[in-house]
Symmetry: D2
Subunit: 498 residues, 4 copies
């Protein structure tokens, strides 16, 4: 039985007394144990990162960037190994894992733009003979706390940019599926990041709270649920840190009467059920404008759900794998029961699914609710499972009101052919990431990711241009030189030589 | 006796039961009373701002910007009136007031760049037929809490940009000298800002805490002392807001052996004693490298101090006016006594100064300490008075260490002719705003203002480019259009017409 | 009889032997004479501008910018006077003149962003201890050669930015209607531009060729017809200069079957007939997709044309004034005859219009051709008069092919409600400025103006961000400092002092 | 005997009747023959590139960029092979070749930032409900004409960015040493550039003139001598193209009395004699301020020249290899004779050098002139050989005057410790690339390369940010949607369904 430890100063450590089990969600078999870092272990990682900072900060940005070029190559070369780890610990189907990894690699590609995006602004002659410019300097030790649902991608949102900017880093991945993040960190060292610049600790609340309160940590990036995000933001800010904390979501798609319904239905299948809906950008609510739209759409979704294939993630013919844990499966099925109680119409019930050969896995088929209403718990809560809710409204304005009323503001989408409807929606909806006929409007790596309302605590978004600003602080220099004997007086300084 | 009230929805209000006296610091005469807003009054201002938001947000940025062009004109036309208010309530000499106002006007000039600086980023073909772009949308209701020392300038750092970005605003100026801010807000309305978009409340902790905890307020900008800044950051963040809180400072100048000492001494006089040292960017410590440097510099400073003229701010031949309050005068003289006790050498003692005709004013002459050491309270605390401390070191490295050890990280400066020394200093010193032979390296209005360490809590600096980011949130849109009968099928759609 | 001269070094000059008449197009009465500058006069202007350059270049950008703030105010204060000049010499209706002037003022507003848009890029540590940054420095003497149709606006595209960037300038406005440009230049001096920095010469080919070949002129901006633009580009480039030469246009609007036809027709009326079609962004061709679309559209246009009011420009109830000259009127009516010969259907014939009280004016009513085809001269040539051609096609693809085949590439527009059609069009059409339901897609002042194909010779567009680049040249500095005794050796340099 | 042909549409072609010999400069042995393309061959390449454009333009930028990541890997993997080709055909020492290649790879690294640097600007609400944005679209077929002295690097300045921006390309490398460019182009295809997108033709004036006048070529980048650059600019512009033509140089270094002379002398050795001075950024003139400075500097240079090792480029212990051709050797030695005649003092005479084993090679030892004066041909002409001229002046102002008087404006450098002298120099000198204690201030790949005066014809510099602008044209879209029944009327459109 393997015990997964930490990665500090380029060394593996596994000495903490507390551990937690790593369970394969497809079989509920024990795969390994993971150490849960004590306060002392986390402080060791922080101290290591702090010690590595002065030398790393002094490496020219172009040299730090070149390591990221090598990291991209190593990630591509080791893609199969990484995806295997993702599937084993998280459960997602291998090609979905590959999609996740690809998104992570795209973030590394963007980091390769560092010399461009790190440029400061220079102004000649802000006054007579006075110049002024800004620089974006690294912060010092930064930390990342990442969720179970994207064990490879979300760490790659964070540390490559942080490290390339000249910071040192302590990553705490999800303790449920830490192996991919650990392995990728080792690839970072192989690519040329000096030992000590990038460190990984595994752990739970003790580790998190140490990172949040240790004065040596300058900044924390977090992705997880909203209650934890709010705790992270409040605690970290009270410790004087810079924090960006990404929380939950409930992403609605509006389907307009003029939409291409076949396209909308197909798009929604992937957006709702891909990775079992365990994505913060999953579409979990469809708001159909007009009953005719709703009727046609539900019919099409029902038909497509009938062809969905659920099973072990190593079989790439499957569309969905298991949920991440038994406990999570029970939570999701609880929501389904609650929805039925609340009066929503359960058009497709995915409960009771048994996958042959994987009878102990956390499997749940796709579920579809129709006639869901505001006020139902299945609408207000983030379920994080393969459950799609259809709501019916008469007008686009009603649909937008439902979205704007909701606590979360991560992503949303509209299906329409109409330019005006799309523009009005994108302009006015109170959501950070908007799709027009794009069901998962995750910004590409060269834009930045972030929601509004309770989906994000902090000013700056993840990855892309905003991440450069998050992982650096501005220094502004104003320079004037006093009149110079060297220049003006040279004639007098050396007359005897002529 | 005038009672200064609030300015809400374009109307003056003065109904709160609690008031505070406005005292002229040059005479200690009562000038007026100012209302201290109750929670209800502040909530009324917030509600007014919230109600004004949807319509204001919909005004095209160029139209909002044109109001700022007019505001600049009005500020220039009313400059004398504003400076008179500044001098009466704050005490600063009229031409120093004019300098403050000019800096504020420069911020308004920068806001006139809004259509340029508000631009988002557009990417064609992020995938086949898919475009993506970002927009910077306003936040909603924003608040500003500003200090007594720059009653006109600091509000102008905040609300013109916030309002131009499409937000509505509640300003709480210092209750000691609120009149300039109130008057300028009225000029804003005269310039064309709709009533309700810009509101001013006067008040104390009750008003501040209401602004910090009311969920309708999206963002708070604060300038003041570090303990309050920390409270603002912690409380405001715990309420889920976006906060930038600017705190205290202890700005050191290094004087190198090769510096032009006449230039350095003259520069330091203004930087240390201008506005009685009541500036967060004042130089309060000089670190001289080498005793020869120190000896020569102290001699020059002493000589120049002897010519300083202190008196009523309306007489522009004066170099320094009174301190802001009797209590503050006592606090500063307390520090001077403490410095003497701690063993620093009080080279010039400004205590006991009596200004003829203004015998009751809060006057204090310039003070100069030599041989100040780390550990002394006059070094660790921000005195905020006309007290300059000279420290003596042997090397530049020691000087830099003193600066980096200090709690604050606002501004610093080096006097040297040497390119390498200047560059090493600017690159490595742990301070946000760095001057090279520039004693007050306040960034110009088109760069941004912000310190490091305990001088700033938050990610984004004040005014300039950062303020656009602080007062807006990013929205990213990803757009794809389904195949179009309109385009491809037009031929078939209308065949019978031919 | 007034003789309009030049404006050189802040002085008016009118000594050239050659003059040309300024004729009021509404009456064909002589209004004034304008001097045509000899080579010597132009060289005097260039020499004056060259002499003024070193001092002007050294004025900090923010001070140069403040003059532009004042210029904006002066333009607004003198708007009526400027519009009166425009109407008298060009003929356009007063409120159209006000629209032109407003666009010019918007360019001045953008120039007020100079400190922001002039920023260079700064990179710390491009190598160990090496920094590098770019600056955008002025070129020296720049020249502008501007057309008759926007006598106020096009000069304001050019010289305010050129001058604000630190250049000096020689403007040669159209000799047909020079007074507005001359008057505005005087306002520039009144606003604070030093005499000699901005100069105006009136003239014809002799003046143009002198500007193009004089080695002291660094850059020339030109707006006019394509044959002249090509001559300017070839000649100016052969003289080693930087040239941007804006030429002719033939702007097509596509009307799709799904368009809001009432909106389209109303939009097209203004776009085709505003300012008598004497605009390089006028819509002169409508390509209707489907005969049903064409039939309905022609019917609506015909009805609206019937209500058009043509007459003297001082009467703001008029929609169109006279054409600029008798010769131009004859040229345009010649095209109408040619179109009839070529077989196009002249649905509305505006020829023979007599305006009561202005019987000698160059009046022509709105003309509408239907069933225009590729190959007809009225399609291939830029008519620059109130003549709108309707073409009929079956598909959007055919419509786009017509546009792409045409020599010019200035502006174009599509009327549709369909997101996909609009996006496909905007992405693929070979035109520089594209409108979606916007008939005159002139970029706003904070974007840049420029066509493709034979509508622009040169790399950089007019006004907005590109104009900063056109009027400056990049300087890149790379800086390293040798090891410093000053910094490292200070300890040893002064040991005896301790 | 190998005949080097062209590379068109992914195929090698070698059918032209005319050829030229490729001679190894170290031995003057024939290495190969190279085809000289006829007009028809060049037109075939252009036609191939034009045919490849529409499909390549439609590939999303991120996919085009990924090819550049692979190209970087392939260049690194094939570095030895490329350097061997460079040394064989050009003569430079292998590690100098490696330095050249590394600079080329850095340009490819910058191109990997494409998705960032290609972003357009987006403005919401330029008017009510109107949005506007700019896109940077590819031009079509672009061409590059590159010089003998950097056979690998200069092509890599051009086509990777041009191709990544979506253009197709025809490269004409120097016919003296074409093999590296040809080999690298093949690596481009191997990396994933589609055949036809990147083409190479070898040739002479016939090829060049075809590229300059063929209407299908949209833009030409050229690097070479000033007379040719001027011809390229004039001819290409007259053909309506966008041209950037980089010409000759005469780069001066000022050595100030306070400079670190050991550092200056060592720096100058590499800058003057590296690659035999056959670099457009070589320092060929040192202007010493004060005779004491000059005397000391000449002494140090003389001493270092004595240790220079000259010989075959494959031996990396050599500092200099042969000159590129026998004819060029004769031209350079002619200049040396001319300098002596003109009265300059030839301190070190490198003529007559014989390298054992390579007696027929084009070898010339380092030459050093002292007391060179303005007016001498060795000062006015670009020698492009290992000849360093020392000039003596009394003041920095005189030194700057010499530089500003010179026809060329490529690079320059100052050696000083003094901040004021450096800043005054960098600000005022009329040169495009300025070094402060950096003798070869070639901008790093993420800034842009370009001289002033007769060193560059055109507006935009090479590589870095400017190259994105050079290889794209701006398109500005303005969009408004008409009122939408879809959105507003949905309620009425489907009432019967409820």
């Amino acid at each position: 039985m393997q015990t997964i430890g930490h990665f500090i100063g380029g060394e593996k450590l596994a000495e903490d007394p507390r551990t937690q089990e790593i369970i394969n969600p497809s079989t509920n078999q024990l795969e390994a144990k993971v150490c849960l870092a004590s306060k002392a272990t986390v402080e060791k990682a922080i101290a290591t990162a702090e010690a590595a900072f002065p030398a790393w900060r002094a490496v020219p940005p172009i040299k730090r960037t070149r390591i990221m070029f090598r990291l991209k190559d190593l990630l591509e070369q080791n893609a199969d190994r990484i995806c295997e780890l993702l599937t084993r610990e998280h459960g997602k189907v291998l090609n979905d894992a590959m999609g996740e990894l690809q998104r992570g690699i795209e973030n590394v590609e963007y980091v390769c733009s560092l010399p461009e995006v790190l440029k400061g602004e220079h102004s000649r002659d802000v006054g007579p003979g006075i110049d002024s410019w800004s620089e974006f300097q690294p912060l010092g030790v930064c930390a990342g706390i990442t969720p179970f649902n994207f064990p490879a991608m979300v760490p790659l949102w964070m540390w490559p940019m942080a490290v390339a900017c000249g910071n040192t880093f302590v990553l705490k991945p999800s303790e449920r599926d830490p192996s991919a993040a650990l392995f990728i960190a080792q690839l970072g060292i192989e690519a040329g990041i000096p030992a000590g610049v990038l460190n990984v600790v595994n752990g739970d609340k003790e580790a998190v709270d140490t990172l949040l309160t240790d004065k040596r940590v300058q900044a924390v990036s977090f992705v997880g649920s909203t209650p934890v995000a709010e705790h992270i933001y409040t605690t970290g800010c009270a410790s004087g840190k810079r924090i960006q904390a990404f929380g939950g979501a409930k992403n609605h798609a509006i389907v307009m009467p003029d939409a291409d319904l076949d396209n909308a239905a197909t798009s929604l299948m992937g957006a709702a059920y891909g990775s079992c809906g365990e994505r913060c950008m999953a579409i979990s609510v469809v708001v159909a404008v007009g009953d005719a739209t709703a009727d046609a759409l539900v019919e099409k979704l029902e038909a497509q759900i009938a062809t969905l294939k659920v099973g072990d993630g190593r079989d790439t013919s499957n569309d969905m794998g298991p949920l991440v844990t038994r406990a999570h499966l029970e939570k999701v099925t609880g929501y389904i029961a609650r929805g039925v109680e609340e009066g929503a119409e359960l058009v497709v019930d995915g409960r009771g699914l048994v996958v042959e050969g994987f009878e102990d896995g956390n499997y749940l088929g796709a579920c579809l609710f129709d006639r869901v209403k505001e006020g139902m718990v299945i609408h207000s809560d983030e379920i994080f499972g393969p459950v799609l809710c259809v709501m019916r409204v008469d007008t686009m304005q009603e649909a937008m009101q439902i979205i704007d009323n909701h606590e979360y503001g991560n992503g949303t989408c509209i299906f329409t052919r109409d330019g005006e409807a799309a523009r009005y929606f994108a302009d006015n909806i109170k959501i950070g990431m908007v799709g027009i006929n794009v069901p998962l409007p995750v910004p590409v790596a060269y834009h930045s990711f972030g929601g509004w309302k309770h989906s994000l605590f902090g000013d700056l978004h993840a990855y892309g241009p905003d991440s450069v600003r998050f992982y650096t602080k501005r220094k502004t220099v104003t320079q004037r030189w006093p009149a110079s004997d060297i220049r003006e007086g040279a004639q007098f300084a050396f007359p005897s030589n002529r």
